[in-house]
Symmetry: C2
Amino acid sequence: MYQLTARDIRRRNRFCVLQAVYAAEGHTSRQEIAQATGLSFATVGNMIAELLDVGVLAELGYDAPGIGRPRARLAINPDRGTLVGVDIAETSIHFDLFDLAMTALRSVEIPVDPTATEPADVAELIIRGIGELTAGEADRVLGIGLSVPGLVEPEGGVSVFSPYWHWHNVPLKALLEQRLPYPLYLDNPLKASTAAHLWFGAGRDVDDLIVVTLRAGVGIGVVIDGMLYRGVTNSAGEWGHTNLVLDGRPCSCGRSGCVEAYVSAPGIVQTLRELAPASPLISNDDALTIAAIAAAAARGDLIACEVIEKTGHYLGVTVANLVNLFNPRTMVFGDLVASHLGEPLLEVTRRVAAHHAMSDPFEAVTLQLSTLPHNPASLGAATFALEGFLADRETFGSIAARRALRTTST
Amino acid sequence: MYQLTARDIRRRNRFCVLQAVYAAEGHTSRQEIAQATGLSFATVGNMIAELLDVGVLAELGYDAPGIGRPRARLAINPDRGTLVGVDIAETSIHFDLFDLAMTALRSVEIPVDPTATEPADVAELIIRGIGELTAGEADRVLGIGLSVPGLVEPEGGVSVFSPYWHWHNVPLKALLEQRLPYPLYLDNPLKASTAAHLWFGAGRDVDDLIVVTLRAGVGIGVVIDGMLYRGVTNSAGEWGHTNLVLDGRPCSCGRSGCVEAYVSAPGIVQTLRELAPASPLISNDDALTIAAIAAAAARGDLIACEVIEKTGHYLGVTVANLVNLFNPRTMVFGDLVASHLGEPLLEVTRRVAAHHAMSDPFEAVTLQLSTLPHNPASLGAATFALEGFLADRETFGSIAARRALRTTST
């Protein structure tokens, strides 16, 4: 049976406090954090003392309100160190360097040679990219997060299955860690994007959130009570291959009728092909075709509008299923398809979902587009590194021990 | 943002410890509980001291192992008080009285007059039933749990929507509490059944569990990390009205193609009607028809076997969706349909789900029939009363305070 320890609580509360500081976007105070988190002023004070001690936070002077004691202005200390986010995709690897305020300092992008996709080849590219990204300041890196497509086992850092390169049980972390002497965190793009939204997007306002990623593949990330939900083998949220149409379209996974076959970029292009096989909107690049559908629909093109209508119908039915099953507060739609088809697609989706979902959970949920400015996969991967740093026993454990000692000796 | 308090931890650990005592089915020891829960011996010792203090546990003497200190035998103290579970169904209300070891002491069943289903009428029946059930020992009742069909708001004790009697926002708890001076806990049969499985069924062995109820209506209860998952408005798990077949059969809810239209008792009877409109297996009572299908299939009747095959196909597809989305350790199938069609239905379901689910989460899950001996709705309702008693601040808060005082004064 599951049980909680005092350390779980401290870590959880540390995350809560720091999320409130990030959400303040600038500076904040102990009082405001206590209000935002619902934690007691004493608990907030303890957490802040700890975070100041390790240099994650800095005091920027005092506000002097009309009445009462002056309030110390608190902010993230961007110079405490850097975090690296790596988004490994089929054709390229994207690297971002963040300061501790999660401001992107610079980026590197390296193409993947489609004839060299063995684990050792890809590991070599990752090591090279990180070398370029952190040149001259490698000692400032607090941790590296990697978003690896497919099914990932985060604790061991294993790519259990990667659809692009037919990897099976590749111990990627072990391949990297000898030459990258930093804490390494691996998970897949859905989990990473969801972590990014949890810390820096809609998760700032709500604790129960579903992040829907719509691109070449589709999937969801689920946040429950402010925590990323993983399931027992880290594969919760495999929405893309839930069945939408019994005996429907063939899916890239070998099954038929999967959600992905209808609402992914290739699925939407297929809907267009079925409606108008010779449509001039169709190009060889699905992303361009999706952009062309969006532009054509904006000028009233009937076929393009019908593609959006049909896609919104498919999406609405499966979104209704998710609303019924998870009863979330917010659903955020992001990536290629959502950024191109945007509100028009979401409007149809809302209308169809309103019909198919139970009224009570549907009234409780907001469907909205992603507002994250950055690549959510690499931001999220760096967020895993941030979480890892904040959960580090050596950094924070020793402080807790020191504080306990101080308390005892007074 | 969500945060945890020391009180949350204590309550959570108290539940863990007591679940381990119930799971031992007889007596156990501090050592065994520490092993079963993973809690430290010190924490277990604290929790046990508390539970002995309030009389929930009793010491039954000592085991003398060959080596080491004798171990105190611990067991639930059945005589500490009683709990009432009430299962409100469409045609009757079932009442069970349990001792604190959750042994059913006696039952009462009262039919519901179909012409008198106003909230006041039903409240009157509940008050009468509890009066009969607890006659002569009303002062021993620690709490009453009520399983109320439909959508329930547990905190306020409101029946938000009840499909049978078209109740909307009925403040049932408020109607009852003046004449039933006990702690009252309301939730729906799905949540109640799931609580029963969590404490006394498959939840003894696993923390991530989906309980699938298959009767006139169908639904699921989800256990995540050993806790009942409710969603933001307590309607998580509305699986029965997720879409299975686009533009499929009309459902009792007014939509079409819902899971319930295919795998509920009426849905299965409908499948039989479509295959063999004049089948002698069909009677006016769906429960009898389901029993007849089971008996006919057992003797090799082709139509009955095909009904099971088709039902298992529908069930397998939607079970695969749940496995992909929730990635649970165990799925338990219970109630009317599961108890009649049992393993034959589950066999087809497993085969179809194995094809439709992602292989990794499917390998991680076990699909099994319920083994709970008792009516899970009334047992679960009583379990809510048990949880309420264990979370009671007056009972346990004062002990914690007393203990703190003792510690300070030493």
